[in-house]
Symmetry: C5
Subunit: 278 residues, 5 copies
């Protein structure tokens, strides 16, 4: 079960299918089953896919479902590398609850070029947050520095987190700041738990080092996608994260991650490019 | 009855009337009656026309109705060959159910030029999927490579299918990939049944060969329109499909298709042109 | 009473007031009273005006009310002869029923220049049709070749009628095709009754000749506006139509129409100009 | 009490506050109190202000409240003299009823430059009229020749009145036509009562002469704003109108209007400029 | 408790987080706690943040919550100094009540460049006011001279206040006019209480002098943000305001404000720049 107040959490993000058949994420039944049988605390899916999560799959409680309510829209195609144009909300918190979710999530899209698209995105977040509160469903907001004008920086992460709180976020999912002091300040200043997102697939040992540093700075957990399922053995990668985040066992974590293998070669997603600029 | 889990299905698509009085599809009562008396498993109609389907017409159960909720919009006229501009949702899943449908369907329009039109189309699919789930009505999504910027390919079909699943599709209706391996992979990776659409009217024997190959690769059935009613004897064409798909009887199927006759000369529809580019 | 299955019907269209104080249509109480006391089967009014129809006015049952749900928008003024820009739906089928209507109607505006306006018009028709079905109110669709790009032809009438059926029309109101064969084919192919609209005011005897030809080709009746109330004696014109349509009495009809007088000189409406191009 | 069927009515319009602190209309409590204690039949306020009308203030029944549902939008500021761009509906008939109104009102904005703004305005009027009917609240429509392309004329007033009736008006509020015959025809042709608006502040005796002529031509009353509260003694001006309209006492009316004083110097409002063009 | 009829009120505005992590406003828990333990009558928060206000924190009743329903949108980023483009309403009065608020608030954005954005803002205020009335929640309107074309002046404040009343405001929050006579006239003419906003952080003694002058002119209280929390000791600043506003103790107030310290150096917000032009 996901419990952000009691312990640090590992959430697996498997919601990149809006970018198409991304390498490692094509085989939906296999990946859902692997997550269901893992020790992860939660799994982040679009609300559309959440109904297909298998629920109790083994002898342990299955990870809780966190459901994304919106999708980013990159140009007019699927996985084409076009710029972020807007986001759209497809589902309501009530839809998420009906699909079995214990939390719902929306994007705060930074760096859009159109002011009305930005204004609409803000408005949707505020409304969805109020609706989630009525449905007693915790509401996560994720500042996404994916727009063509986005300039990710530690200051920008703080600003976006502050706005997210103002808009009604119950939980934050943010990129890891470069300076550990920034993350510590964010955790101190935020009235709600802060989770760090995994980002671009990269060297396993380095990545785990970052994860442990985020935990040391006070983060409540991680939300990791391609650093799990873009590796040959996703189950081992989840195991590595559980060891690092929940048990602080960096050595054991590195061992599991080595077993998971290095990221499969695949096309960078649009948001990786933005991340590199950050 | 339509039962996608139990057996391979033949669905007749008679929803091209949004393109006007298309050759072979002008005489609505005659064609609806022919389908109603056939061995087809289902008939795909717009929700607006679904109420006119005659229901039990003979001694056998009538085909189940699948209702389209949206229409493609080509320019500002009817059947003019203008480019795909957008789609519009006209009906809700509840409207489809009220019209007697057992499944509803929407288009995922690939290759649009306007990003907001694309974003809105995605949003409508997600919302309709959630509404269909609330109404316990299975929801089919059809990637349609009809936009001026569409580039149909096996990879693009996989991407579109993956996105459709993410958006909440319970059933997929896709163009047949060129490579049988692609279709096999799609069927393996998809958590929901995959139906293949018939496309442009063409030589009967060739078409049936493709149908059998699709079945061999694991497809759950076909959705065929003009390859049925654009022939002089639509009833025989349906019979051919039933033999090929449900009984694997290619010889019998070819015999029936020969009786159905070759496609009537008629203006190519806009989406045929796209298909040829694919 | 209006009964499209039992007998051929005469409907008087008095819904041109959206074009302003059109010659012959200025005096609302006088015209509503004349229709109410006539033998017409129905009267077509905007839903806004429908509440003012006097109901039982004489010893015979009053004509049934058919309520228009939408209005055409020509430029930014009233009766200025500007081009058709869009349509707007002002009322719901429930509003029509509340105003006493037994049927509701919407325009299918052909020849618009803006694809979104066209798409929206299609979507509104589909939705209104479904809502009318829920309210058990028959739904009439009228293809209107009034847009700047409209090209009225027999083929275009067939295409528009076919699309209207697809969108959920229960009754069609179409311009009379030039070729009687076309009308016969339309009646045969249409799963719903076909009414023919009267159009531009013209010579009474010629007009009645056309009416009788439409009936001979299988039309279910006529919907006539200015050919009634744009004449000095509208009551006599209605009588002429009743004789021609319901009783097939062309001689008697011509006598009554002669008593009605020839059309008053008045400015042509925008849609007459389109009609002439047709 | 307002009773348009029984007697000619005097309605005071105090809804110009959307143009800001207009001379004579700044002091809201003083003016509302003066109207409440007067013999006027009604007071026209925005729905937003209607809740503040004091109700029974003296020994006589207070004027009935007529609530405006919409506001004109002139450019992007307040009282700047910018051109009319659009109107917006802010309140529903139910809101008006909740604020104590016995009638609600909307503008029909003539002379807009944008066809969609015009189309939307028409649509809102139709919908509000239907909603008012459901709430059993009479619905007044006011053709407003305030747009940059407006050309006020007697013919244009007739056209606008005819359209307003078509859209569902229960009462008309129109500018006084120049030719008394036109007003007489309008009253004869209209199935609903016709009130005349006061317009630009002007010489008291001349204004009262016009008022009496309007009554002679059959108008059901007047709706007067700045010709009341733009004078030093608004109470006396109301008294003058009551004498002229309700009692036909032109001499007594002129005496009271003299006591009211001539209009205070103030900036002309945007719609005065339009009026002068008319 | 907030009681605008009984005594002059001090409201602390802590709703600038939509501009990001503004200096002094980053540490949300610390500031909310300080306000909760203060003698302020009220605290103004976005509805999204209102749920996090700690309620009864000490031995005295906590300040009442006033909830903002909308946010200003400056360009496409957070705290970038871009021009005001529009506003968006994120929450309903019912959302505000559910978050524990006793009053709700919206912006009237002056000086926008786009007429539709201005029209929409007006419409939202009217609708929200009616909804607040239905929810029995007092509704505050704040004219905000933040648009690129805004020209703040005493006359403009009067105009904006008059429009706000027309739109349904129950309480006004306005910038302090330069001329005390203007404020006295506004208070006399307004049918609802008038609160003055604090504005740009500035010298403590000067600021308190202005506050006392506003009270002398009849204002019902102040709404102060950065002049409180942009100082090193916000608690002392609140104490200063309570002394000045509620007890008229200017000497004591200045003593407390000296203890609060002068404003921390920080980037001017976009609306400060506008204020300076005023």
């Amino acid at each position: 079960m996901l419990d952000l107040t009691d312990r640090r959490s590992v959430v697996i993000a498997f919601d990149h299918g809006t970018e198409g058949a991304v390498r490692g994420g094509e085989d939906v039944p296999r990946m859902l089953d692997a997550i269901a049988r893992s020790q992860a605390d939660g799994v982040l899916l679009t609300t559309g896919l959440a109904r297909r999560f298998p629920g109790e799959a083994g002898t342990t409680p299955a990870p809780a479902v966190l459901a994304g309510l919106d999708v980013p829209v990159f140009g007019t195609g699927i996985g084409t590398g076009a710029k972020l144009v807007t986001t759209r909300q497809l589902w309501s918190p009530a839809d998420a609850a009906a699909a079995g979710a214990v939390m719902c999530k929306m994007l705060l899209p930074l760096g859009l070029e159109d002011a009305d698209a930005w204004a609409d995105a803000i408005a949707r977040i505020g409304r969805a947050g109020a609706e989630a509160a009525r449905a007693s469903l915790p509401f996560m907001v994720e500042p996404a520095f994916w727009g063509p004008a986005a300039q990710q920086s530690d200051k920008a992460i703080l600003d976006a987190a502050r706005l997210s709180v103002e808009l009604g976020a119950d939980v934050l999912k943010v990129p890891g700041p470069r300076d550990p002091e920034t993350l510590a300040a964010l955790v101190a200043w935020s009235p709600v738990p802060v989770l760090i997102l995994g980002g671009t697939p990269r060297d396993g040992a380095d990545f785990l080092g970052q994860v442990v540093a985020w935990m040391a700075a006070g983060a409540s957990g991680v939300v990791v996608g391609r650093n799990v399922w873009n590796r040959p053995q996703p189950t081992a990668a989840i195991d590595a994260l559980v060891r690092a985040v929940r048990h602080g066992d960096l050595d054991g974590a590195r061992e599991s991650m080595a077993a998971a293998g290095e990221p499969l070669p695949s096309a960078a997603l649009r948001y990786d490019q933005e991340e590199e600029q950050g």
